[in-house]
Symmetry: C2
Subunit: 326 residues, 2 copies
């Protein structure tokens, strides 16, 4: 494993924070945020000193009905510009595009015509050739690119190694270590971060971490990941995100020592807008069913359904989950 990077007093200028509240949080409310929420989040992110703000997905309008989701599932150029204008700020704007769920050849315009800075390409290991085409395409359009290789805890180690090798040969800028199921333990994150960083550094790329909170480990895994070489961290306001949610941005702003970061604007945003989002009925965060799917290294869909239906027969769910993997 690589040597520990950084300490608890100084700061590493290579560390960047990415606010994924709209994108991962949009999975909770089908991307129906008020414009005020998005505008205030944008202003808040500028004030906090966060480096990146992810606006949502570039999802295919052929595959998804625009009447069934809020506009941040599609992130039209005009939608973003309504919030940010020309974005004459230091905050970079990112969107996510899922392999197989976007029409990137039509929907992603050249970077010099767009207010978007960064395209984040989300892929499973079985989609790597398609992911590489997307990376190449977006890179040639002039974008910074990241690749988020998902669900690695449920992939064969040799497949992850091969995927890593492939993206290291691509023009991608940042390779993300993603714990889709919230099932990794800190000791695994340290080993994976060291592996990703070793490969990425040799190829002149950076490594990011995107952690879920199914086992209340999102913050721990994020800070362990950066202590072992990762430099891009995804987080969301109060952890808003699908199921158990994500690493909390306010914890990252509190933990990191970069003097550019300000916690107070995030606290004020949370007090008003996260409270309103919860009052609207959006539900996310650690809960016992997520602990089970996380610990069993399973997609959280059974836990999400269980909670949505208001069930509390935890042992029944646990027995069902055990039965399915046996």
């Amino acid at each position: 494993m690589s040597a520990k990077k950084g300490d608890l007093i100084s700061y590493r200028p290579d560390i960047k924070l990415l606010d994924a509240t709209i994108r991962d949080g949009g999975l909770v409310n089908d991307f129906y945020f008020s414009d005020e929420f998005i505008k205030e989040l944008y202003q808040t992110n500028i004030k906090t000193g966060i480096e990146y703000m992810e606006f949502g997905y570039k999802a295919s309008k052929k595959l998804f009905d625009v009447n069934k989701f809020g506009k941040w599932k599609f992130c039209d150029e005009e939608s973003i510009r309504e919030i940010v204008g020309e974005n004459n700020t230091d905050l970079k704007i990112a969107v996510m595009a899922d392999v197989g769920r976007c029409d990137y050849k039509e929907d992603i315009i050249p970077s010099n015509e767009s207010v978007i800075d960064t395209i984040r390409i989300a892929t499973y290991t079985h989609q790597m050739p398609a992911a590489l085409e997307m990376i190449e395409h977006c890179h040639n359009l002039g974008y910074e690119t990241t690749v988020n290789i998902m669900a690695i805890s449920a992939s064969r180690e040799e497949d992850v190694d091969k995927a890593l090798e492939m993206v290291c040969e691509s023009p991608v800028d940042v390779i993300y270590l993603v714990d889709s199921y919230g099932s990794l333990y800190p000791e695994q994150v340290r080993e994976l971060a060291a592996k990703y960083c070793k490969a990425a550094e040799a190829a002149g790329k950076k490594v990011g971490v995107h952690m879920h909170n199914n086992q209340q480990l999102a913050f721990a895994n994020t800070i362990e990941g950066i202590s072992h070489g990762a430099s891009f961290c995804d987080a969301t306001m109060s952890g808003m995100g699908r199921g158990a949610g994500n690493c909390f941005m306010e914890q990252m702003l509190s933990f990191l020592r970069n003097p550019n970061y300000q916690l107070s604007p995030a606290l004020e945003f949370i007090q008003k807008y996260i409270a309103e989002e919860k009052a609207k009925g959006s539900v996310w965060g650690y809960d016992l069913p997520y602990m089970m799917t996380g610990a069993l290294n399973r997609h959280p869909r059974a836990a999400i359904a269980f909670i949505k239906e208001g069930k509390t027969d935890y042992n029944g769910l646990y027995q069902d989950l055990l039965y399915e993997i046996s």
Copy 2:
């Protein structure tokens, strides 16, 4: 730092779980649990295979009014016997005694007349001579003893080192690494666990970990602590405990591979009894104010008061906390 102990597939028979639900959870409801709650928790702990159950405090009836607290703040011998009879089970029974807040010479009877197995002595570094007298006294009465050195994150390192040296020369059986303020990060826990273990092993003693969840790190810090040599772990059902609460017992039962442990009885207990406790109005668990006191290495009392008063001016609290430490 000592080498990592254990892995994610096998199990270490030296690891013991202690259920601190009544003792730490009692700080939430002034120890007013129903007898049914306690009886069911006892039966549940037997079924799960947990090794220790802490019943509460042996608090001084001269210092604390018995009419203002439930009986588990005092843990009379008869109160425990009403629940466990002669306790002809493998589950060991523990109580905690705070240095300076108990009348141990009168209230702790010889071990062979008591159903209690283990006395846990909680102390601050500035009380060490009194703690050593209590350890000696309880040891001579025939009890297994542990010492919980509290608030070490706010103590001088040389004081912690000296306290460690002193307890290593005492007859105490287990030395606890305690994160009273929930302010330690995993990298600090690893270093402290290694330090405690080095000292304890040389003296033929064991090390335990007792973590709080102010920064959502109680589970992470507990498993990092045991991976780096600790073997006694405190946890509570659904993390019930003062303020942000504790490490969740259900997570420990899920994480550890000891075939004696059963998760299902804990899930059934939580479904009924933890839900009832919450319905009664008991409040605990991670919340933004606790993140602030944890990150600032402060006692959580300001956060507890803020939440109790229903306040949400998070930035106001944060500025107050910053002002107090400046």
